[in-house]
Amino acid sequence: MRVRKMYRVKVQILPKDGVFDPQGHTVKGALEKLGFNGVKEVRLGKLIEILIDVEDESQLMVQTKAMCERLLANPIIESYQLLDVEEVP
């Protein structure tokens, strides 16, 4: 019998370079007011955590990439990155 596995994946979505991020800009201003003068840039995005049941890790990668490209990120304005994969017992 084939055993399926459960994974917890974390995907990060960030505005692409060249796309103005007003939230990041505002947070940067707030950090500067708090005295963190070294802050050069802040970009705000999303962290999406997905619990998924798949056959194996290669299927996990295929599906995660497909989810990012079809729905989770808009490639015109956002980039995505797989941050973390954890097998859940």
């Binding site: 505005p15 796309v19 103005f20 007003p22 989770l72 015109i76 304005i77």
Partner: protein, 234 residues
């Protein structure tokens, strides 16, 4: 002209659009639920109304894009039927790639709800054929995510139909309510049958509301449609 207004969960300008098409212009108008499909030649005009479809979760329009009804909208658009996306409808059209570009959070981060001036910069479209190039319209906007963005060289200049401007028609930074690139308020697809705009023409079609500038967009389309229809009949 037979019209449809699509209703997504979270649409809130669907009734305004329906009212204008049916009661102001006297057209045959129907609501289409987002889970339904329709034959591609059923409607001459399909309106994707404003609102917050699926709560604007993830990105405005990102989830509505995958509604069953959008398969029919895509098919109808490919067969030359007219599609008009207003506000959230515009966001759904860009997410669907039926229109180029994307709509981002307003640069001022606030939801902006007020009248703005927009200038017609291409009157060679079915939606603007009764307007003059450079003509100024006063139309309300109401959005938090209306900052139009498109990478350089991905938009033909004639696809820009409306630009935010001041009351004299000057396209300035001050008259740009959301930080849209090139002050873009509305764009059309290359084929010229799918228009998206952030302002709400359906909110200004009646004297009693104090502004009828929105009528001119609908009237342009109806006039174009009637002329084409007559032409085809002959």
């Amino acid at each position: 002209m037979k019209c449809a207004v699509v209703v997504f969960p979270g649409s809130n300008c669907d009734r305004d659009a329906f009212h204008v098409l049916k009661n102001v212009f006297g057209l045959d108008c129907h609501y289409i639920f987002h889970e339904d499909r329709f034959p591609p030649d059923e409607f001459d005009l399909i309106v994707l109304p404003g609102g917050f479809s699926f709560g604007d979760y993830l990105r405005a329009g990102a989830i509505a894009r995958f509604s069953p009804v959008m398969e029919s909208v895509r098919e109808a658009a490919s067969r030359g039927r007219f599609v008009l996306g207003i506000c959230n409808g515009f966001q759904i059209l860009t997410e669907s790639r039926l229109l180029p570009g994307a709509l981002l959070r307003n640069d001022g981060l606030k939801f902006v709800c007020r009248d703005v001036y927009i200038k017609v910069v291409n009157n060679r479209t079915p939606f603007t054929c009764l307007l003059e190039d450079g003509q100024i319209l006063r139309i309300p906007i109401a959005h938090g995510e209306g900052r139009y963005f498109i990478p350089d060289d991905q938009l033909r200049e004639d696809q820009i139909v409306f630009q935010y401007c001041d009351e004299h028609g000057n396209v300035t930074e001050d008259s740009n309510p959301n930080g849209s690139c090139f002050n873009i308020a509305g764009v059309i697809n290359e084929k010229g049958n799918v228009l998206g705009l952030m302002p709400h023409p359906e909110r200004c079609c009646e004297e009693i509301l104090g502004n009828t500038d929105g009528r001119k967009i609908f009237e342009s389309l109806f006039s174009y449609f009637t002329r084409r229809h007559d032409h085809e009949a002959n």
